[in-house]
Each structure stands twice: as C-alpha cells, then as structure tokens.
C-alpha cells in the first residue's frame, strides 16, 4: 500500500516538476538518452552490406511507435547524382509496439513477420533471429536501398506523444566475399519530446510559436553546429603504417521532412575545416532528402595535399535559417595495402540548438 502511494507520489511530483520547472529546449538530439523520435541516419541494403536495426522500449509500459523508411536511392543508381538524377525519396511506414523494457531487432533486407513457431536460441541453436515477442510486421527493403529510418513514439491511436521511451542502434554489416562480417555501429539519434506536444501530425522540433507550431517547440531542436574529427584524404593511419589509408564517409539527414506532401527537406551545409596547424578551410554542399558522400568530394578541403595535416576538425552548420537543420553520422574505412579493411562508425558531436523550428509533417491517419 505504502509503495503504491509512493508511486503515486512520484507521479504527482513528476507532474509538479513538469509544470513548475520549465526547462529550456536544449540541443538535445542525443545519442545518450531515450527520446520520442529516433533517427537512424544510415540504412543500407546492397549486395555487399546490410543493416541490423535495434530498437528498445526503456519504459515499464507498452510503447507504440510509427516508423518511416525513406529510400534515397538515385533514380538511376548506376549514374552519378545530377540535376536529372535525384534521390527518389520514396517513403514507406509501419507501426511497431514494444512491451515493458522490450528490446527488438530486425534485418533491414528481411524485415520482420509473424513467426509464432520461431525457434528460440538454445545451446545447439544460435539461428534464432525471430525469437521474441512479435513487435509488428516490418516490411523488408529491396536491394539497392540507401536512406534513413525514423521512428516516432505514438499513443495507441497513432498520435505522436512525448514519452521519451525509445532508443536504438544501427549496425552496418558487410556481406561481401572478402569483407564478410565487417561491422560498424552507431547509436540512433533521439529527439526528446516536450510537454507542449499537441499530438497532431505536425511535429515541431525546436523554434518558437508560429502558425505551424502554435504551441512552440514540441520536441527539442536539431543542433545548430555539428562537429566531427576525421583523417584527411590521402593520409595514413599511424596504427597501420605507411601503406594504409582511411576514407571518411559522411551521412547527412535533414531534420525537416514532409511525409504528407512528399516534400524532402533540403539544406546547404557549410563546412569549416581546421587542420592541426589551426589553418581553416571552407566548403559547402547541398543535401536534399538525404546525403551520403565521401569527404573527398568536397573540393579538396579534406585532402592531405591541401591541409598538410593528418587530423582535421570540421564544423558543419546550415547556411541559413531557411535551410533545414540536420543530423548525421560518420563512417571511417581503415585499409592496409588496398586490401579489405575495417569500418568504424561515430556519432557526431553537436553544439547549440537551432532557433528556428524544423518540422516533420506526418501523413494523415485513419
């Protein structure tokens, strides 16, 4: 009985705290804490790589989520991107539900389907991927998919809520002949929901009161500045020696997305690259829908021949407030003598928060 009252007391306290301690919206697209929206910026299904998604409910009650895959495959995948060869921005979505503290997982290329007779893991059976409580039917992705996954916590009617109960990880796993099993893992980026969430289909990430966001920010804002350290293009890895190389692939995902009207977010990303001599170089690129590129594509500012330095610090920010905010992940590929190497993924560091809102517009429900 006393314990029951204590729980109620804690709830009362929580409510009071929510009312009385109006905390500012921090730049809390975070890889640390559970959130109400989780972004997986890099999902790949190809002949040589696949992605394993892990998603977890960190609360003691059932949690629903509405998830969106966005396929940013080029219209003509074999051709370089150009004005006439843009990402297709094809979205598919699905629902998922997780019981108390339940973790779940699925393979992007296989999805998940009901398997009531799925074998459990035992001492003699380690092929047990379908074991566990069924989280809902998850569509498989076709070969050639490159893009993102976004899951939004919702109530049982499908309305978005600020529960802050989700976290997850994405693991990119190689299936190629010589690289099979090579993995890199990143934490999904969680956006923390605020108490101002009006549960409609317009999700306001940061910013103030506007026509679109009459209650102001419903979720924390996307970062103002994103920072990552990398190897310069053409430098070697000191742990591997002279004949080694490190290539760096950057994935950028705009925070603003309109799933209702199928309008992708777009951002001009400004780069400030500082070398070990404290010399600074700059570049910019435009990302619409989703961008994944080797930093060598950025006009030489990452080249060893330009920077003269092995290590670089890069600061990225949207060029203007009219641009979408963005989040991302970086992946390094360490190789020796041009042979098969190892991937390592890193979450990016963030500084500050955007003062204007990024808006995710969900398709209307039933």
């Amino acid at each position: 009985m006393g314990r029951h009252w204590a729980v109620r007391g804690a709830l009362v306290g929580t409510l009071l705290a929510a009312v009385t301690c109006i905390l500012p919206a921090f730049a809390d697209v975070t890889t640390e804490r559970p959130g109400s929206i989780v972004f997986y910026p890099k999902v790949i299904v190809s002949g040589t790589r696949d992605t394993l998604i892990q998603l977890t409910n960190t609360s003691n009650s059932l949690v629903h989520a509405h998830c969106f895959y966005v396929n940013a495959q080029l219209e003509f995948p074999d051709q370089p991107p150009s004005r006439d060869n843009q990402p297709i921005w094809q979205e598919v979505d699905f629902d998922i539900w997780l019981t108390k503290q339940q973790p779940t997982h699925w393979i992007a290329s296989s999805g998940r389907r009901p398997a009531p007779l799925a074998a459990e893991c035992t001492e003699t059976n380690s092929q047990c991927s379908d074991a566990g409580l069924f989280p809902g039917r998850i569509p498989p992705l076709a070969d050639g998919f490159v893009g993102e996954l976004k899951c939004i916590e919702a109530d049982s009617s499908g309305a978005p809520i600020s529960g802050n109960h989700l976290n997850g990880e994405g693991t990119l796993i190689s299936t190629g002949l010589f690289t099979k099993g090579d993995t890199s893992k990143y934490s999904a980026l969680a956006v923390i929901g605020l108490d101002t969430n009006d549960a409609n289909n317009t999700l306001c990430l940061g910013g103030g009161v506007t026509t679109q966001c009459p209650r102001g920010a419903e979720y924390n804002a996307c970062p103002q500045v994103t920072v990552f350290d990398s190897f310069s293009v053409g430098s070697n890895d000191p742990a591997l020696g002279d004949n080694s190389s490190v290539s760096t692939e950057l994935t950028i995902m705009p925070c603003t997305e309109d799933f209702e009207h199928q309008v992708p977010g777009s951002v001009v990303v400004q780069f400030l690259v500082t070398n070990e001599f404290e010399e600074t170089f700059s570049a910019s690129t435009t990302v619409t829908c989703w961008g994944n590129f080797n930093v060598s594509a950025l006009r030489g500012v990452f080249d060893y021949n330009t920077t003269g330095s092995r290590f670089l610090q890069s600061r990225m920010a949207p060029a203007t407030n009219n641009d979408s905010g963005f989040v991302g992940v970086v992946e390094e590929y360490h190789r020796l003598n041009g042979g098969p190497g190892g991937h390592a993924a890193f979450n990016l560091h963030t500084i500050g928060q955007r003062t204007v809102a990024d808006v995710i517009t969900l398709p209307e429900g039933p």
């Binding site: 339940q102 973790p103 035992t122 380690s126 090579d182 350290d229 890895d237 290590f311 890193f346 979450n347």
Partner: protein, 641 residues
C-alpha cells in the same frame, strides 16, 4: 488511518525527491558522448602487440576563440600476472598467458597538453606525442606536435609548446584516459570545449601451416607455383624482344627458347679420341703409341699388353644425354625447363642465377645456375585489418551563473537576499570536482512544494523550508559539473547468438569505470554494480558484481565462468538481443554517487572460437545510453598543481 497517514507521508517524500531532482538548478544528467565537455573520459584503451592492436585517441578543442589547456590522467588498469610480469592477463591476447590468477592494477600517470583554437590532435596510445622543441632529448620515436611554438605557431601565436603526451607504459596495456579542461595554473575550469574519439585498430597477422608443395626457388615465373619435383621449378625465362636480352640471365636472344634451351648434343667420339667432335667413326680413330710397361705411351691411362692394343678404332655418335645450349649453357638437361639461367660468379657469390649463393669462380659458373627447388609451402600469412571506435564520454561543466539557491542569474543584483547574495558559476576551481548532486542547503517549501528555499522566510507565510540537501564541505557551491547517469542502458546481442546477416556468433565485452576518481590519494573506487537483463520476451534476469577502478567483462562471464549458462547467453535467454540496465549501488556511508561510465565492444567470432575465447573477425564499439540522475554527487579529486 495511521496507515493512510504514513502513506501520505510517503507521497510527500517521494514527490519531494522527484521535485528536488527535477528543480535542482541547472544540473542535468548529461554524461554526454555527443557534446563537447569540460571533462572527457575514454573508458577503454588497449595495446596488444600480439594481435596488432593499438588505440588511436583523437582530442580536439572546439572553441573558436581560445586555446585550451588539458590535464590528462592515463590509468593503467592492466591486470598483473603475479609470478611472471611479462605474461598477459588479457583474455583474447595471443601472448603467453598468465598461469596463476591475475591481480588488479591501478597506476595513474598524468600529463598536460595545450590544444589551440579548433585544433585537432591525435596520437597512438603506444606512442604518445611530445613537444619536440622544448623536449628534444625525449624519446625520438614519439611523434611531435605540429605547432611547436618555435618553428611554427598558429594564428594569434598559439601553439602546443609544453605539451607532452605519455605513451602507454607497456605492451598488453588496458586502461582508460580522463582529460580535464584546466587553466594555466592547472585549476579546473568551466569550459565545455573538449571532444574526442577513440579508435581501436587491429592489424593482425595470422599464419596457417603448409598444406602442399610449391617451388621455393627457381625463376620468378615459377616460384610459388605448385610442384611435385625440382625439375618443375626452373623456368626457361623470357626474351625481351626490344632489347634482345633474356629477362633472366641477361643472355642475348631472339625468342623465349633462347633463354633456356635444352638440345641434343653434337656428335662426339665415344670410342677412340673420346669426347672429340666428329663427323664419322674414322674421325675418331686413335693411335696412342707403343705399349711400354703395360701403358700406351700416348695415353698412359690406357692399359695394353702389345702396341697394337694402342691403336683404337673410333666410334662417332650423338650422346644420349642432352645439354643446355642457352640459359644455363652446358648443363645437362632433359627439357627446356632445366635450362633457366646460366649462373655467373664474381669470385665470391653468384651475381646471376642463384643470387647470393657463395661460389669461387669468375664469370660463367655452373654452380650458380639457377635450379629450382620444390619444397613445402611456406606458412600462409593472413593480414586482418579492423577498426572500431567510440566517442569520448564527456561531463559538461555548469557554465551558467547561479545564485546560492541554484537559480540562474547574470549579476549579483539578481541574487539579493538569496544566500550570500553572490551570482557566480558554481565551480570554485579547486582540486575537488563535484559531479552532479543537489545544492547544499536547498530544500522545498513544506506546502508549496514547487518553491525551492534555503530558509523558512523564502517560503509563503506559515510555511517552513524542509527536505534540505545536506551541506557539503567538498562541494560548498553544489554541483560544478553535470552528474553521471543513474542508470546506464545497454542494448546488445546475447553472447553466442548468431549475427543473422553474417552468420558469425557474437560476443560482447563491456567496460565500466566508476564516475568518481581519486587521483589525489591514488585510491581506486569500488562500486557494486547491479545488472537487469530484459530479453525479447520481456523476461527479466538480474545479477551483480563489484567493479573496482576499471572492469572489462565478457558479458557471459559476469555471473559465471561457464559462459553458456550465463544470463547473458542467448542459450539461456532464448532470444538474439537484450536490453541491460546497469546501476551502481549508492551507499549511504560513501557519500558519493557510485555511478558508472562505460563503453561496449561487439565481436563477431570465427569458427573455432568459444564464448570465452573469441577469434575476432570484426569488432564494433559503441557508447552506452543513460537515464536519470542522482541526488548524491560523484567526485574527481585532483593532485595538487
């Protein structure tokens, strides 16, 4: 009635705790691996030459205006083999294993470095880095900082002068690194400008035993090819048609066969004048003179009884053996492949043919002829390159000025009548860093719980100030840095589960380091750790273990030495993945939070591995998630500057 009264008391108490936690100024549970911070911890560094493993640390100053001085503590937590210091205690190491139980070690060394504005620096843990100008006599194998302050400075004359990063003290090293933003006098300061990553790189060479025979010597075109006999290992070489010289052996040629041709010999006398060239038998007739003392006088090697015995009818014929007419000219052969290269000797060693072999002749020397050998295949050396990385875990300093009650302020006027009336950042820059916790003396008004207070007069009339945070001599201003998380959350594969994409079995190592660190007294902190494991059926298991200073676990060894029976094993859980909630148990007597910081590494293991001993195909490291905060602070105690 009494029960209800007690229950109501419990309600108030619980609500007060939640309020106290929620409203305690600007402190947040922000152990952060995705924001620059004032304290950065790399929980796992490893150097193991037996597996080609080293750790690259990258640290950078994100300030756009000022250089940053950093005081770093490198902690050697490598378990020590008590009866053989050179034996390893690292579980997957290939070095010679310790045969007795290992003992824990906690040796701390510290160093300082200056990072200029927006500068990235990186170093291998095995090498460290030095200021080569200020300290030219130090180990020349350690790389140098780029801005030495003498030959090169950055904008505003900023440099790394005086910086000195110590390398790991030995091979088979495992430990952690903690770096703290300080000012020029080594006092910790509230600058959240530090970020970093650690990349564990493996360059492992493994050899497999011989499986057959290959040409181990011979011409370049045959070495390494399969064989069953020596004769298969000598190449005829090839003719460079532009220079008309054999590519092997440097003989003039017009076609490949000129570089090693085995031909029938010319006709020779096989009776009579044996060995002489001839055209017919009569060309070989011989007369070796008279017979004297049983020997022909013209050929004392020929015996005789009468002089007619010294007249011999000749025989002229083609010898049955063949000889190399090019390549190894003059050597007996039975095919072109035995005529690869004619050797030449410079009087001491072969300079053409069997290069490097000793010889005594000069010029053409058959002992230098290149003759192939067919032998066992050399061991196959396979190089495995792998990399995995994680972000340094940051603790943000509280930079917001506060009144004594923890409320934000900008000038002293904002704090009039509150505590000492001073508006300042809470960091007092002493050697005790206060991580999280509540503001001493701060409580809640008894009825209007939403109001924080220090004294009764801070509350509405007839209300008293209750549930005050105890005063702390260590943290007189309350928290100076954000606290470590109450709970660490960790999504992982269960040990022994097969990765459904690659098919490899997966095991996971978890590294935990207590949030509190006592570098002053060199005293490792001990924390009891509780684990709650939820599988995909929502079934719960739990276990616990102590962590002193630093602990690296194979998950399925946390609760048992029989991995397959562990609650972290897929065979026990029945599912592929799980969520584990990790909690350091707070002790009333310790006075500090007993929280933890950690990182995990997943291993995909090759065939022949066991859960306890994984032959890693690949690895991936990742940061843990966190949840909640504690009313008790953690501390970092620094040695005096």
């Amino acid at each position: 009635m009494l029960m209800k009264s007690r229950a109501m008391g419990t309600v108030r108490k619980a609500a007060a705790i939640v309020l106290a936690l929620a409203c305690a100024g600007v402190t947040r549970a922000d152990v952060s691996s995705d924001q620059p911070a004032a304290v950065v911890l790399f929980p796992k560094l490893i150097v193991d030459s037996s597996r080609g493993i080293d750790t690259l640390v990258r640290l950078s100053n994100t300030s756009t205006q000022n250089p940053l001085t950093v005081h770093c503590f490198l902690v050697d937590a490598s378990p020590l083999c008590p009866n053989n210091p050179t034996a390893t205690c690292l579980p997957d190491s290939l070095a010679s294993k310790c045969t007795v139980p290992c003992v824990d070690r906690w040796n701390e060394t510290d160093f300082r470095l200056v990072i200029t504005t927006r500068q990235p620096v990186g170093w291998l843990i095995s090498q460290g880095m030095r200021d080569c100008r200020s300290n030219p006599a130090s180990d020349p194998n350690r790389p140098c900082f780029q801005l030495d302050g003498v030959t090169r400075v950055g904008p505003g004359n900023q440099s790394n002068a005086g910086s000195n990063i110590l390398p790991a003290p030995h091979d088979q090293f495992v430990g952690y690194l903690q770096c703290i933003a300080v000012d020029d006098s080594d006092a910790p300061i509230e600058r959240n400008d530090l970020k970093g990553e650690a990349t564990i790189v493996r360059n492992q060479q493994t050899s497999t035993p011989p499986t057959g025979k290959v040409c181990t010597s011979g011409a370049a075109t045959t070495t390494g090819t399969s064989c069953t006999a020596d004769s298969q290992c000598t190449s005829t070489g090839a003719c460079d048609t532009s220079t008309k010289v054999c590519k092997l052996g440097q003989h003039a040629c017009t076609q490949d066969s000129d570089c090693g041709k085995c031909v029938a010999q010319e006709k020779q006398c096989t009776a009579g004048t044996v060995g002489a060239p001839c055209a017919s038998d009569s060309d070989c007739d011989a007369d070796f003179g008279v017979c004297t003392a049983m020997q022909c006088q013209g050929n004392t090697a020929k015996s005789c009884t009468i002089s007619t015995d010294c007249k011999v009818a000749g025989t002229c014929e083609v010898p049955s053996t063949q000889v190399c007419s090019s390549g190894a000219v003059g050597s007996a052969c039975s095919g072109n492949t035995m005529c690869g290269v004619a050797g030449q000797c410079n009087g001491a060693m072969c300079i053409v043919g069997a290069l490097g072999s000793s010889c005594t002749g000069s010029g053409a020397d058959p002992s230098c002829n290149l003759v192939g050998k067919c032998g066992l295949t050399p061991p196959t050396v396979t190089t495995t390159v792998d990399a995995d990385g994680y972000n340094g875990v940051g603790l943000l300093a509280i930079t917001q000025k506060q009144c004594a009650n923890g409320n934000a302020c900008s000038t002293n006027a904002n704090c009039a009548g509150i505590g000492n009336g001073v508006c300042a950042v809470p960091n007092n820059h002493d050697g005790t860093l206060c991580l999280g916790g509540c503001t001493p003396g701060q409580g809640q008004c008894k009825v209007t719980r939403s109001l924080s207070c220090f004294k009764d007069t801070d509350c509405p009339t007839n209300e008293t100030c209750v549930d005050k945070c105890p005063t702390s001599s260590l943290c007189p201003n309350g928290p100076e840095y954000d606290g470590c998380a109450n709970i660490l959350i960790f999504d992982h594969f269960l040990d022994g589960a097969s990765d459904p994409i690659s098919g490899y079995p997966v095991v996971t190592d978890l590294t935990l380091v207590p949030c509190s660190q006592d570098y002053l007294r060199q005293s490792p902190q001990k924390v009891t750790v509780q684990f709650l494991v939820f599988n995909e059926f929502e079934q719960r298991f739990s276990t616990s273990t102590p962590v002193t200073c630093f602990k690296e676990f194979r998950l399925s060894n946390i609760d048992t030495t029989t991995n397959i029976k562990s609650i972290f094993s897929a065979a026990v859980n029945g599912t592929l993945t799980a969520q584990t909630r990790i909690r350091g148990v707070a002790l009333d007597t310790s006075g500090y939070g007993q929280t933890l910081i950690g990182v995990a590494r997943e291993f995909r293991c090759d065939a022949g591995s066991t859960l306890a001993n994984c032959k890693a195909v690949s690895t991936s490291a990742f940061n843990l998630h966190s949840q909640g905060r504690r009313p008790q602070p953690d501390f970092i105690w620094l040695p005096p500057s």
